[in-house]
Every structure is written in C-alpha cells, then in structure tokens.
C-alpha cells in the first residue's frame, strides 16, 4: 500500500483538503462580517451597502481561488480568461436589461 502512485495520491488529497479548509474558513469569516455590518450597526446607509457589496465580491474571489482552483499560474490562464469573459457578458446582459427596464419604468410613471 505504499507504492509511489499511492504516495502521490495521498499528497494530492492532503493539498486538496488544505485548500478546501482555508477556503471554507475565509468564506465563513466573510459571511459573518457581512451579517455583522447590519447586526452591530457598525456602518449605516450607503456605507453599509457598499461594505456588503465589497464583501460579496471578496466572497466570489475566495470561491474561485480555493474551490474552483483559479489563479494566475500559466496553466490556469484559460480558466481565468473564461471567468473574466463570463463576467463581461453577464455584466452586459444584466446591466443593459436594468438600464432598459428602469428607463421604461420611469417613462410609464
């Protein structure tokens, strides 16, 4: 049970588990922080909204980094490009829709 192949697999598994743990902890901290903002009244109004939005973006980054194994290493460039492209398209689609529909809404008032 101690062939080289097994050793390798073992190492792989250990690294995987480490990444998942770090990711889970970071995600948990960010989530708690987001809840803490309104709960403690640390920030209010626009500042609170901005703070939560920022935490949301960080949350996405953490998920990508630790759960989807996305980073700036060369071998992962393609994945990163795809994610950025997706962000671009989704921004265009969602942003455009919001622009159009709110404009229509205003003009119907």
């Amino acid at each position: 049970m101690t062939g080289p192949r097994n050793e390798e697999e073992h190492e792989e598994l250990r690294r995987e588990r480490r990444a998942l743990t770090i990711g889970a902890v970071q995600a948990l901290i960010l989530t708690c922080a987001a809840f803490a903002i309104p709960a403690t009244g640390l920030l209010t109004g626009l500042a609170a909204l901005a703070g939560i939005a920022l935490l949301g973006v960080l949350q996405i980054a953490v998920h990508f980094r630790w759960f989807l194994h996305l980073d700036l290493r060369r071998s992962h460039r393609h994945d990163l490009q795809l994610v950025l492209f997706t962000v671009l398209i989704v921004t265009l689609m969602v942003g455009g829709s919001i622009w159009i529909l709110f404009d229509l809404h205003d003009r119907m008032m």
Partner: protein
C-alpha cells in the same frame, strides 16, 4: 377530467376538416396527412431495405459525433421541406388575396408564418449548423470525439423531440398564431386560450435546452481535445467560428429558456409576469426574448462564415488571407452581439438616448463583418480557382450578403426603423441575411464534406442547377419585398386592398416556387449522386486538395477518426504534411483506442421529452408526469452502467489503417483542375507547396 386531458375527437385535423369543410381546412388536413404518410413511408422504406437493425445499432443509438452530425442534418432537411412548402403557401395566398380574402383562413395563415419562422430558426437552421459543427469540428482539431459523447446524443434527441411536437401539431389541434417571437400579452392565456402557444413553448424549450448542452459540449471539446501542437491559432477558421457559436449558445439560450418558462407559468399557473394588468409587464418578455434573439442570429450566421472561409481557401488553393483579422473579427462579433438586442424593439417606448446607444452599437458590427468580406475576396485574388458548386454558393453569398448587410445598417438607425419596422422591408432584410448567410453556407458545407462522410462526391451539374435556382429564386422572392416595405406594406398580412402591389406579390410568388425548385434539385442532386457513386468515388479521401486535418483520414473516416492522433505544428496542417511529402506514411506504433459504446438512453430521453411536452400541451397530466419521471429514471439508471466504452485493440487499428494506406498509395494523383471530373481519385497531386 378525462384521461386524454383536453384532447377530443374534433381536435384531430381530419375530423375537423370533415366537420367544417373549406379549402383552408382541406389544406390543413392535407398537411396532416402528409406528415402521417411521410412517417409511414419512412417506416416502410426501412423495412423494405431490411435496415431496421443497421438503423438502430449504427445510427439511432450511436454516440459517434459523425453519425450524430449527419442525423442533425437529416432532421434539418426534413424540416426545411415543411417550412419551405409553408412559405410557398403563404406566397400563393398573398398573390391571390389582393382585394380578396384568398383561400386561407386568417387563423390558418397566422399559423403558417408562426410555424414557418419557428421551424426555420429552431428546427432547420439550428440542427443544420449544429450537425455541420458536430461532423467537422472534431475532425479538424484532430480529436476522436466530442468531450461528452452521451450529452451530444441527448442534445440531438431533445431537438428531435421538439421537432416531433411541431409535427404533432399538424395532426392534433393547431399551432400558435403568435409569430416566431410569441410576444405576450397576445400569447398569454386570456388572448390565446388554445393549445397552440403551449406547443410553441415546449417545442422551443426542448430545442433550446438541447442547444445549451451542445454549446457546452463544443466549447469544452475545443478547449480540451485539440491534437498535440494545435494551438488555438493553429485551428482552422471554422473551428474559431464554432468556438464563438458555442459561447453564444451557452449565454444566449438561457434567457430564452427563462422567457418560455415564465410564459408557461403565466399560462398554466396564472402567474402575472407578462399580463396586461395586475403588475405584469410584457416588456420583460421582449427584453428577455431579444437578449436571446440577437445573439441567436449570430449563432446562425457564424458557422456559415466558417464554412465560407474554408471554401474560399480550399477552392482558391491559397492560405486564408488575413487569418488573424478573421479570428479577431469573429470574436468581436461574438462580444458585440451581446450589446445590440434592443434594436429589435426600438419602437417600444424607451428614451431616445438608449435607442441611440444601441443603434450605434449595431452599426459597429458592420465593421468586423466588412473586414471579413474583404478577407474572403482577397483570398480568391490570384488563387487557383476551382469553380465547384460550393464555391458558387459562396460567391453568391458574398454579393448577396452585402446587400442584406447594408439594409441592416439602414435599419440600425432608430429614425428609419420607426418608418419600416414590422414591414416587409424587415422581412426582406432578414431573409437576405439568413438565406445567403446561413442556408447557402450550410448547403456549401454539404457539398464540401459530403465526400468525406460518404466517400463519393456530389454531382456538379445538379449542384449548379440548384445554385442557379436558389439564387434567382432568392432575388425574385425578396427584392420586391424591399420595395413593398418602403411603400408601407406590413409583415404578417394575409391580404391587401391595394391592387398596385399585385405585380410585386406575383414576382415574390414565382420566386418562392423557384426556391422550392432549388430544394428539389438539391435532393435530386443527392439521388443522382448516390446512383452514380462509382464514377464519383473519391476513395483517397482528399478530393479538394484539402488543407486541414480531416482530409488526411479515410472517407468515411473510421469511428475513431484518426488511427494515430496527428501532431500539428502549423495552420493548414494537412497542406504542410503534403508539402513535406509525409502524407500517407505509416506511423511507427499504434495504440489501443477507447470509444464510447452505443446506448439507447439519449433516444429514450428525447422521445420521453416529446411525450412530456405533448402531455403538458394537452393537459394530460399523467402522461407528462410519467414521462418526466422516465427521463430522470433513464439518467439515473445510466449512471449505474459500468461498461460504457469499448476498446479497439491496436492490432485491429493497425490492420485497418495499413490497408487504407496501401490502397491510397496505389491511387493516381489528381491535378487541381481535374477536381470536378471523374478523374478525381481523392488523392491530390503533391506539387510544389502553395
């Protein structure tokens, strides 16, 4: 609550025609009869040929991307026959209905343009281009299959399921009258209470889910399964367009699925997303639909651009002019196509600055498209032209497409659009894009790759006759519509009062008949070619002096495509191999090849999905529920299957491949100019590198 939901005797078209006879009903019954007879005829033919077994094991249950591609194209050809006949029927009605109601009832006419549009887009164009990509792309990148062969078959059979629903609507009940875009509130339950819109919803939903899965499959295949050495920039241009299309499919099909699902909720569960009152707003539908609809037109057109690129380079005997600019233009179009959807509803109430922004974005797309046209022209300049049918279709495209593009730029101006939107000017414009920019491309693709798939060329004479009819028919059928549209004729009209339009309508009618002749001669070409297959045989597999990998394997290619996966180090990979004199040399070693086994699960999923859609349409809840459970049951059962692939031993691969190489080496080399003659052996002359 009856066992058959709301389906009753008098919903069956033959009974309906019997109960209230009229010419309109008789035609509808004739169409229903044709559908039944067509299905029976196909069954009888297969029985007569004793081909059920081959059909089942070799095709219906196959996971081979080449077989799946061909089945997609067969589906497209069946559906184009129906949709084209419907188009002719509309034209005959219109020419007969100047100052007269004509012979079709208003309801029947409305169904005709709805089914024509829906079929042409979702069940002709999409299957056709998906089929061509399926067949060609893995071969071109040197892959043995798509990344997800089983999902590939599921996509095919879901699309077929949708097509079955379209056909069922000819016999049971009637189809939607809401146009291919099915705008609510007209298509909501209060204005369209019958089953027609439900047919539309489920047919389109199945097709669009199939396309989403296909998009994922194509993208992953291109990213993950390229032959060693084939960088993205070594890919043939067709593969770039396939990549762009797959991205568009992934992102653009989902808004449509969301829109049809919301419309279904409105109709079945009394939701109020798109109703007039109670807080509903149909503009949400318009926005979602065109969020899909505009990228969709680029899904339709880009694969044809890829085909044209291959045709111009192959039949000019020159490398593609401006490859990088074509890649860039393709990718720009892919992104820009997500920034223009509002031009489909300029007149629906938003502020002028929004219209201006989207109008300008629309005009911008003209730039990359213009770049392409020049690149193609320059590819032909000083080339060694072989005037094959494929090149003829492509050249007609070049000229005709520019006209359509220019009218598109005209329509992109919101002020102009206010005048001509929803007029026949628009109908002329989009047919002017779709017929040359999609259909001619797909026909050209069939001409080019048919010899690869079946080992013999298509008859050139019938090909040319067909090209002539398609071209003349197109101009005659659609140029008059520009004039009428500018004169104020609206689309989707059953009859007109103004007698001045009659000559235009007559020309359009004749044009439509010529187009039907184009399809008939195309089918004739297949028939004649099958009969002359000995004379047309190209056993070498490289009839056009091809430049890309697929021409270096046998025709038809083995199930595993390549005995040994090729090593690539430049663009025009096969041309490089030929120039280096390394074509048809035996590899040193062979390896075992693992290929997926055939399975009936995808076929079952598609048929069950059709049954589910039929049940939902007719409120036969038990059927819908059982079919739905069946679909997921099949998926779960499949996941327990352990042996999903089989191994082809290296010795077997070696035996087949060596025999083929032996045969090819014995063939005479064909000079380029003999490419269209019976002298074409499928082995190209290895002259000086071009």
């Amino acid at each position: 609550m009856s066992l058959l939901g709301i389906l009753g005797w008098s919903d069956i078209i033959f009974v309906k025609a019997w109960q209230n006879p009229s010419i309109s009903e008789a035609i509808a019954a004739g169409a229903g009869g044709a559908a039944v007879l067509g299905a029976l005829g196909a069954a009888v033919l297969v029985t007569w040929l004793g081909a059920w077994r081959t059909l089942w094991t070799g095709w219906l249950t196959s996971l081979d991307h080449k077989k799946i591609g061909i089945m997609y194209i067969v589906l497209a050809l069946v559906m184009i026959a129906r949709a084209l006949i419907e188009a002719v029927l509309m034209r005959v009605q219109q020419a007969a209905a100047v100052g007269d109601p004509g012979f079709l009832s208003a309801d029947h006419y409305n169904q005709l343009f709805t089914t024509h549009g829906t079929i042409m887009i979702f069940f002709m164009a999409m299957p056709f281009l998906t089929g061509v990509i399926n067949y060609v792309m893995p071969l071109q990148i040197g892959s043995r299959d798509m990344s997800f062969p089983m999902m590939n078959a599921v996509s095919l059979w879901l699309t077929v399921g949708g097509a079955i629903l379209m056909m069922a609507s000819l016999i049971f009940g009637s189809f939607s009258t809401g146009g291919w875009s099915a705008y609510p509130p007209y298509t909501g339950a209060s204005f369209s209470p019958g089953v027609g819109v439900d047919y539309w919803i489920w047919a389109v939903t199945l097709a669009s889910v199939g396309s989403t899965l296909t998009g994922i499959n194509i993208a992953v295949t291109i990213y993950k399964r390229r032959a060693p050495g084939m960088t993205l920039f070594h890919m043939p241009l067709f593969c770039w367009t396939a990549l762009a299309v797959s991205i568009l499919m992934i992102f653009a099909m989902s808004p449509l699925t969301v829109a049809t699902a919301m419309l279904a909720l409105d109709r079945y569960a009394e939701f109020k997303f798109f109703t007039n009152g109670d807080g509903g707003n149909m503009m949400i539908y318009a926005n979602l639909f065109w969020l899909f609809g505009h990228p969709e037109v680029y899904i339709l057109i880009l694969p044809a651009f890829g085909v044209y690129s291959e045709v111009f380079t192959t039949f000019s005997g020159k490398t593609l002019y401006g490859y990088r600019s074509l890649v860039l233009a393709t990718m720009c179009i892919a992104v820009l196509s997500f920034t223009v959807w509002l031009h489909h509803f300029f007149t629906m109430g938003q502020s002028a600055e929004i219209n201006a922004a989207f109008g300008i974005a629309t005009m911008l797309i003209g730039i990359p498209t213009g770049v392409k046209v020049y690149d193609w022209l320059l590819t032909m300049v000083r080339g060694r032209i072989v005037a094959s049918t494929a090149l003829i279709f492509s050249s007609v495209f070049l000229v005709t497409f520019v006209v359509g593009g220019v009218t598109g730029i005209i329509l992109a101006n919101p002020d102009v659009d206010y005048q001509v939107h929803n007029s026949l000017f628009l109908v002329a414009h989009f047919h002017n894009m779709l017929i040359p920019g999609l259909l001619f491309g797909m026909i050209a693709a069939v001409q080019v790759w048919f010899p690869k798939a079946f080992g013999f060329r298509l008859d050139e004479r019938w090909g040319r006759i067909s090209a002539l009819l398609w071209t003349a028919g197109f101009y005659l059928a659609f140029m008059p519509l520009y004039a009428m549209g500018l004169g104020g004729a609206m689309r989707r009209m059953r009859s007109w009062a103004d007698p001045d339009w009659w000559p235009w309508l007559l020309a359009a009618e004749i044009g439509a008949f010529l187009l039907l002749g184009g399809l008939a001669t195309l089918l004739m070409q297949f028939w004649v070619s099958v009969r002359n297959r000995r004379a047309l045989a190209v056993p070498g597999g490289d009839p056009w002096d091809g430049r890309t990998l697929e021409w270096g394997t046998s025709s038809p290619p083995p199930e595993y495509n390549f005995a040994v996966v090729p090593q690539v180090d430049s663009r025009d990979a096969f041309t490089a191999v030929k120039a280096a004199g390394r074509a048809y040399s035996a590899p040193e070693t062979y390896e075992d090849i693992e290929m997926p086994k055939a399975t009936m699960v995808p076929l079952a999923i598609g048929l069950l999905a059709a049954a589910c859609g039929f049940g939902l349409t007719w409120h036969i809840w038990w059927l819908a529920l059982l079919a739905f459970i069946g679909i997921w049951g099949a998926v779960i059962l499949r996941s327990f299957q352990r042996e999903t692939s089989r191994v082809i031993p290296a010795a077997e691969v070696a035996r087949q491949h060596e025999a083929w190489l032996e045969m090819v080496r014995g063939l005479p080399q064909t000079p380029r100019r003999a490419g269209l003659t019976p002298a074409n052996s499928g082995r190209a002359e290895q002259g000086e590198p071009a």
